[in-house]
């Protein structure tokens, strides 16, 4: 089987040709690395993903998790994959060396995690949550906490979770009720119930370290009174692991990621659950906030990963499935039947999937790269610039990727026709698994509010202005190339539409009509996402066009026929041609709609809010 998880050529294009990550190696922090080590890491990731993780995907989907006598069992096949994942040291890829990690750039981690998640999203929840939890301890833990928990979590010996959600506290985390009472020895007694906890219980590791948000007795209500605790499933007492009174009461039956245990956890039913404070009391939200970018980017990667696998599978299917004659021969029953990739409507779907997947990939990797540039920055100014890009792009990386990624998986089913709807082909699983990405880690609705309510407002819109300026630089550069005119014009249009809508929001937010930006936050995020992805694809087109012209020149291909011959025989040429086409298709099908999308927002249409509840429907 060819690699049907992701287009490795495109991954390398983003890393080396667009972002030029080799340049990062010039900085002290990444000086140990080179293109050669990056390539070796990617190759090793591809191999593990394809040969060991992917074969567990359908198996996990069909078997799901089993809850027996308060203990969760994951599918048998996960154990071997997990062992190999840990032995390979994959959790440590981007962890700083002083914490025992390999210290690779985050952008490379994005690429590796994309591969692993494409191979099996549910499986990746276990190491993924563990890393998230360990990162918290890394940043805020005491030396003892690092040694006791973090080391074991990074090695994969113990797992981790994030426990925020409660029945009444989903999007509204501030409403949580889990309680912490201080013991004389400085530890806390934890009691309460959490729901929807991913990887909440399982048999991959002997212990699980829960990061639990709870309210210390007497703390203020709302988010200001939240603290965060390390609550292990088994606590260490006199060098031994003893039960810490954390019970898995139920696992959810759900649409996708069947093999990821989504648990209801009860803490302290027997009044014997001990928690250890992380950081200071009432600092819980601030601490979580600092980890938010990383976690949201991780969900964006999941959206990308499912889209990527779905596109690759659909493409292969379209080349193999024979149905009907070519359009020109529709009426001739004797005409030869052709693979469905000959049919324009199928090609349209494939093009859509291609450019969206590639656009998301570039955007996500760019966010990872911004993180690296912050770490490698030569000045505070430079660090602040990339921090700004990252902060404003994160809600887009999370939401646009998960929404559009989902649509890519849905189109993959469409390309497969009836077969795609059936279990026999993996695309329906991609779609089911993908759907969760728009829901957890802050629903996409909440992301849109974060963008409009918080990120736009930062320093009187400074973040927005700087990203718009960055797109302006590219525009100036790209405008010099007449061959890119078709891409540049819709891009420039979309850019000014976004600026206009943002200004409109600014005006509305200082008048009595502040509900409009709230109401249209999601469509605004979509418009912003279109431009952000358009930005990435145009950037890529500038590079790809130049490379393609070089190849044509080298081959002295100066006629359409000769160029066609080059495209047929030269793999790079074919690839670059595809890159330019992605940008072109995206500009003309997405960005050209921005005017309409902007008008829809600026109509200020209010029926959704003004309509009395009774009028939605009678029941």
């Amino acid at each position: 089987m060819a690699n049907l998880l992701c287009d490795e050529r495109d991954v390398k294009f983003v890393l080396y040709e667009q972002l030029n990550i080799e340049e990062l190696c010039e900085s002290e922090k990444y000086s140990e690395f080179s293109r050669e080590t990056f390539d070796m890491v990617l190759d090793a990731a591809v191999k593990l993903a394809e040969k060991e993780i992917w074969p567990t995907n359908a198996d996990g989907d069909q078997k799901g998790v089993i809850l027996e006598q308060g203990a969760v069992k994951v599918p048998e096949s996960f154990h071997n994959a997990y062992r190999l994942y840990c032995e390979g040291g994959w959790s440590l890829l981007a962890v700083p060396p002083d914490m025992g990690g390999q210290g690779f750039p985050s952008v490379l981690n994005c690429a590796a995690v994309e591969l692993f998640s494409a191979a099996n999203q549910a499986f990746m929840m276990y190491p993924g949550l563990t890393i998230g939890a360990a990162r918290l301890i890394e940043k805020y833990g005491t030396e003892d906490q690092l040694r006791e928990y973090m080391d074991r979590m990074y090695s994969g010996e113990w797992a981790g979770t994030m426990c925020l959600t409660e029945p009444q506290a989903g999007s509204d985390v501030g409403a949580l009720r889990t309680k912490a009472v201080k013991n004389p020895d400085g530890t806390y007694k934890i009691s309460g119930g959490k729901i929807f906890i991913s990887a909440g219980d399982h048999d991959l590791t002997e212990n699980i370290v829960h990061m639990v948000l709870a309210r210390v007795e007497g703390a203020p209500p709302g988010t200001r009174g939240i603290s965060i605790f390390i609550v292990p499933k088994k606590r260490v007492e006199n060098g031994e692991l003893v039960d810490n009174d954390v019970i898995c009461a139920a696992t959810e039956k759900k649409l996708g990621i069947h093999a990821s245990a989504t648990c209801a956890l009860n803490f302290g039913e027997k009044d014997n659950c001990i928690g250890y404070l992380l950081g200071a009391e009432n600092e819980g939200m601030r601490i979580m906030f600092n980890m938010m970018n990383e976690a949201r980017l991780a969900v964006g990667i999941q959206g990308l990963a499912q889209a990527s696998a779905a596109y690759m599978h659909a493409l292969r299917y379209a080349k193999e499935r024979v149905q009907g004659p070519e359009i020109h021969a529709l009426k001739d029953p004797t005409a030869p039947k052709v693979p469905i990739i000959y049919h324009p409507d199928v090609r349209r779907m494939l093009m859509w999937m291609k450019c969206v997947t590639e656009g998301i990939r570039a955007l996500i990797y760019y966010a990872g790269y911004c993180e690296d540039r912050i770490h490698a920055a030569k000045s505070e100014e430079e660090a602040a610039k990339y921090q700004g890009f990252l902060d404003i792009l994160i809600p887009i990386c999370k939401s646009w990727s998960s929404d559009m990624g989902f649509r890519v998986t849905e189109l993959a089913i469409q390309v497969h026709g009836g077969y795609g709807y059936c279990r026999e082909y993996p695309v329906e699983q991609f779609m089911r698994d993908s759907k969760i990405c728009s829901i957890y880690e802050g629903t996409n609705g909440i992301q849109a509010l974060d963008l409009v309510g918080r990120k736009l407002a930062v320093k009187q819109g400074a973040l927005f202005k700087s990203i718009v300026a960055e797109t302006g630089n590219l525009l100036k550069n790209a405008s010099k190339n007449y061959r890119l005119k078709d891409i540049v014009e819709p891009f420039a249009q979309a850019r000014s539409q976004l600026v206009e809508v943002t200004r409109y929001f600014g005006l509305k937010s200082i008048t009595e009509d502040f509900m409009i930006p709230v109401l249209y936050a999601s469509p605004y995020l979509e418009l912003f996402g279109d431009l952000a992805v358009g930005f990435m694809l145009l950037w890529q087109a500038v590079i790809a066009d130049r490379r393609l012209e070089e190849i044509y020149n080298d081959a002295k291909a100066d006629t359409p026929e000769k160029k066609a011959e080059v495209l047929r025989t030269n793999r790079s040429a074919a690839f670059y041609r595809g890159k330019v086409a992605s940008a072109q298709f995206f500009s003309n099908t997405f960005l050209s709609l921005s005017k309409g999308k902007a008008r829809a927002i600026m109509s200020g249409e209010r029926s959704a809010i003004d309509l009395p509840e009774e009028s939605f429907a009678l029941f």
Binding site: N3, M40, D43, E87
Partner: protein, 259 residues
């Protein structure tokens, strides 16, 4: 326990091969290269032997252009100790005899208990280099090996090999050449710490002159061409079964000429 592993870099099995327009070779641009899968078994077996004896060395020996460094590094990341990279225009795409000569010359400059080769390379499929190498070094060889057990004193090995329809177990004195077959083992994956360590392991670069050999090809490749595309099949439609059967026999006899 010292093993010398002869390892070749080949195009990935997934690569769609294209012949260049002059018909002198394949289009190498944009190809993904991997370690010849049979050589990967060799690397793994050599590592296991070293682990079993708790001492020794695994040396990777490769002939090929610059890009082969990547494969050598991958083997080093799996745990091999050092590499020898013979990179010489006159050898890089030489015939099996010249290759075996170069391997033999390099082998005689190092210490080994066993030399591993893949039983064949999946690109040109000659399956000759290993056998020739043993002849040139005048040491025994066992081909198509699926199990290796080396005696504690390292003077002999009990080796299981594939034969038509079954297995054969032979005893061989060391040093010898073993050519690896599928089923020998499951190669390990390169780990991240392994990759980082591999960067610092030595790779000796050598040319034909360093080995003191002058290559004289025994084989000349004249032309590369793709296998002819399979012609569309013929369907016998709208016929009664007895007529269809008759027609089928006629076609098999007169057109396909198989009966």
């Amino acid at each position: 326990m010292k093993s010398l592993v002869c390892m070749k870099q080949v195009p990935d099995t997934e690569t769609q091969i294209k012949v260049n327009s002059q018909g002198t070779g394949i289009v190498t641009e944009g190809i993904k290269y991997i370690i010849n899968p049979y050589d990967e078994f060799s690397v793994e077996e050599a590592l296991r032997l070293k682990e079993k004896f708790k001492q020794g060395e695994v040396v990777i020996l490769t002939i090929g252009p610059d890009r082969c460094t990547e494969s050598i590094r991958t083997a080093l990341a799996m745990g091999a100790d050092k590499g020898i990279h013979i990179n010489d225009e006159s050898l890089n795409s030489a015939d099996p005899f010249v290759v075996a000569q170069a391997l033999a010359a390099a082998a005689s400059q190092v210490d080994y208990n066993v030399i591993f080769c893949g039983h064949r390379a999946i690109d040109d499929d000659f399956a000759e280099a290993g056998a020739m190498l043993a002849e040139l070094l005048q040491i025994p060889q066992v081909t198509l090996v699926t199990k290796v057990e080396v005696s504690d004193d390292k003077t002999k090995a009990i080796v299981e090999r594939d034969v038509e329809g079954g297995k054969e177990t032979v005893e061989v004195s060391l040093p010898c050449v073993l050519t690896s077959q599928k089923g020998l083992n499951e190669p390990r994956y390169a780990s991240l710490p392994g990759i980082m360590k591999a960067k610092k392991k030595p790779i000796d670069k050598k040319t034909a002159a360093d080995l003191g050999i002058t290559a004289e090809a025994r084989l000349e490749s004249r032309e590369y061409s793709m296998p002819p595309e399979r012609k569309a099949g013929k369907k016998l439609e709208g016929m009664e079964p007895p007529d269809a059967a008759k027609e089928l026999v006629r076609l098999l006899r007169n057109e396909a000429k198989v009966i």
